[in-house]
């Protein structure tokens, strides 16, 4: 595994990663009517983990991720398909957006958000699966 070990990259990765992850969450939650959304947020998050991977190596990244990227893909797809179903309950066509307001914090929760979270996880998971596979094949 290539481990660059340069001080600048290691420190920068450690500082940037939380920011990138926060930014990806911001993009994810903002995305329904404004620029953003699950796909681009997932890419930003994957970028954060990839940076960490380059700085600290595969083992450290795996330890931090805790779950296998494949599980993320599976979970994301599952959420995506699941988000189409609540409309059935209300006897509307599949994919019809359902909105619920959560009373205390006055936050609007919806099936498009579940779908976006699903997309986020799929993108994050599949990019990481690819990156990890490439790193694993590296003979070094």
């Amino acid at each position: 595994m290539v481990k660059s070990g340069t001080l600048i990259l290691s420190v920068a990765a450690r500082l940037l990663m939380p920011l990138q992850l926060l930014f990806s969450l911001f993009l994810l939650l903002r995305g329904h009517d404004e620029p953003g959304g699950g796909f681009i947020a997932g890419l930003v998050a994957a970028g954060a983990f990839a940076l960490y991977l380059f700085a600290y190596g595969l083992t450290a990244t795996r330890a931090m991720l805790r779950v296998s990227p494949r599980d993320l893909v599976g979970l994301g797809l599952f959420l995506g398909v699941l988000s189409t179903l609540p409309a059935w309950w209300n006897d509307q066509a599949f994919f019809t957006a359902q909105w619920w307001t959560i009373p205390l914090i006055d936050y609007k929760f919806s099936t498009p958000l579940i779908f976006d979270i699903g997309v986020y996880l799929v993108v994050l998971g599949s990019v990481l699966t690819a990156v990890v596979a490439l790193v694993e094949n590296d003979p070094d």
Partner: protein, 506 residues
């Protein structure tokens, strides 16, 4: 709200996602494979029942009215195709239990299988031409991954041809969709059909028609761009071959039927004439290619090509009877062809080879398997009373009635050559005495009782379907006839889609 219209897409997607979630648990994946495809089969029968009772069913996804949202449309033809998808999916899932090794399962065979089925069902049910493209891509991605599962050298070689030509077809398809959108400003197929009849430039319409013909022709493995199919279908695990053989090319044929009955029917003298010649040459080149082969699955692959010709002929003649023949032929062919691939896999499991020269004597050891081979094989060649007889009979009768004698003659000749091919397999694999065993042939593990069941059950089930279609020619004919009526009268499709939107289209 009619959930059965969307469920045949959602069920495989859900099953695929869930089995990806359980990728560590082999048993859960196997249960999901059988359960998911079983549920798909049941909902598809439900769909067919509803459609034949209530007419064309439409669901506007997300409640966005047509033509702005994506409509799912199930007419009889689409519903029949979905039922066939369910049958094949279920049979192949059962068969996979015994034939797909642990290695392939670990690399995601089952999720990919579900994804492929979702793509196929989606293509049959969508009423939006861009969405059709998306389902084609879903199918292509899943099929590419399935094709190279195991990464053997031959697989890579086949996959490169497969992917290159299919991507070419996708590019042509996408450009045609773009041009069409530029002309009529809509992607909903019903709306396109409506607006295209008001467009003045008929020359441009013909160009678009030919672009769609080429794109779907490649997918359907029609002449002259069929060679990706025999180059790749014999390389993956046999369950994958069987799934591809049954469904993939037929999606191309379905798309041809849909587009050339609903959208491009203004100038049949031009477009359908090309289709007639394409059909004839497809039949002929496929069957002649098969004659030169000595590998079980390659022979069958070439026969897929030649049989595609009959289906396209049904569309090309464009008379009511010919369309009935085309629909009937698709129903018969999907079941028969998948079954033949399943038998070839069984033979390989018993003898460890697909090479006809190395096989032989199976009739002595496995007489039932030999009978089970004969049913689909003779049906493919068109022997009464099996399903293939009626399918060929209707198409050829339609050819004679339409006075297309040349192409009818080719169809008859190809039937004869198909019989020759099937008899060749029969004689080499089952009848002749087995060749002397070579020096260092690997010992094959004996087939366990449980494995035997998993192999026999789908083969027997599909053979029963073939016999059922053959013996119940009349009801199946009526079903095909009703679906051909719907195809020939596109206003019913258009009305169903556009009226469901709750407003009159501009």
């Amino acid at each position: 709200m009619r959930p059965e219209v969307a469920l045949p897409i959602l069920i495989p997607l859900m099953a695929g996602a869930t089995s990806l979630l359980f990728w560590r648990l082999r048993l859960a994946q196997r249960l999901l494979a059988v359960g998911g495809t079983g549920a798909l089969l049941l909902t598809s029968l439900w769909l067919l029942h509803s459609v034949s009772r209530d007419g064309i069913l439409v669901m506007q996804m997300g409640d966005w009215p047509a033509p702005f949202g994506i409509s799912l449309v199930a007419d009889l033809f689409g519903a029949i195709m979905v039922v066939l998808t369910g049958i094949i999916g279920f049979a192949v899932a059962l068969y996979s239990l015994a034939t797909i090794g642990r290695g392939h399962e670990a690399f995601g065979y089952f999720p990919l299988m579900h994804l492929l089925l979702a793509g196929v069902a989606g293509a049959f049910l969508t009423g939006d031409i861009f969405n059709l493209y998306v389902w084609f891509e879903v199918m292509l991605v899943a099929s590419f991954a399935l094709l190279i599962l195991g990464s053997e050298k031959a697989q890579m070689e086949g996959a490169i041809k497969y992917v290159t030509l299919n991507l070419l077809s996708s590019v042509i398809f996408l450009s045609a969709v773009g041009l069409l959108y530029g002309m009529v400003g809509t992607l909903n197929m019903a709306d396109i059909a409506q607006r295209l009849s008001q467009v003045e430039e008929s020359g441009m319409i013909d160009v678009l028609a030919v672009m769609f013909m080429v794109a779907f022709g490649i997918k359907a493995a029609a002449f002259p761009l069929f060679f990706w199919l025999p180059a790749s279908y014999h390389t993956p695990p046999v369950a994958v071959s069987a799934l591809f053989a049954g469904l993939l090319t037929k999606v191309g044929v379905y798309a041809l039927f849909r587009v050339f009955t609903l959208i491009f029917h203004q100038n049949p003298g031009y477009t359908h004439e090309i289709l007639v010649w394409g059909a004839g040459l497809t039949m002929l080149s496929g069957v002649l290619g098969a004659a030169a082969q000595y590998e079980f699955r390659r022979i069958l692959s070439f026969h897929i090509v030649s049989q595609i010709g009959y289906m396209i002929l049904g569309l090309a003649l464009f008379t009511p009877l010919a369309l009935i023949g085309g629909v009937f032929y698709i129903m018969h062919h999907i079941i028969v062809k998948t079954n033949l691939f399943l038998v070839s896999g069984f033979v390989n499991r018993l003898r460890g080879s697909y090479d006809l020269k190395k096989l032989g004597g199976l009739y002595r050891t496995h007489p039932w398997l030999a009978i089970l081979f004969l049913i689909p094989a003779l049906s493919l060649a068109g022997m009464p009373p099996l399903s293939g007889f009626f399918a060929k009979f209707i198409v050829i009768r339609a050819g004679i009635e339409a006075e297309a004698y040349g192409v009818t003659f080719i169809a008859l000749l190809v039937g004869l050559l198909t019989l020759y091919s099937m008899i060749k397999i029969w004689a080499e694999v089952f009848w002749k005495s087995p060749p002397e065993p070579g020096e260092n042939e690997p010992e094959l593990a004996p087939v366990s009782q449980r494995e035997m069941w998993q192999l026999y059950a789908p083969i027997v089930g599909l053979a029963l379907c073939t016999v059922f279609i053959g013996l119940n020619g009349q009801p199946i004919y009526e079903l095909a006839s009703a679906s051909a009526d719907q195809l020939l009268d596109p206003t019913r499709y258009i009305d169903a889609v556009m009226s469901d939107s709750g407003e009159v289209a501009p």
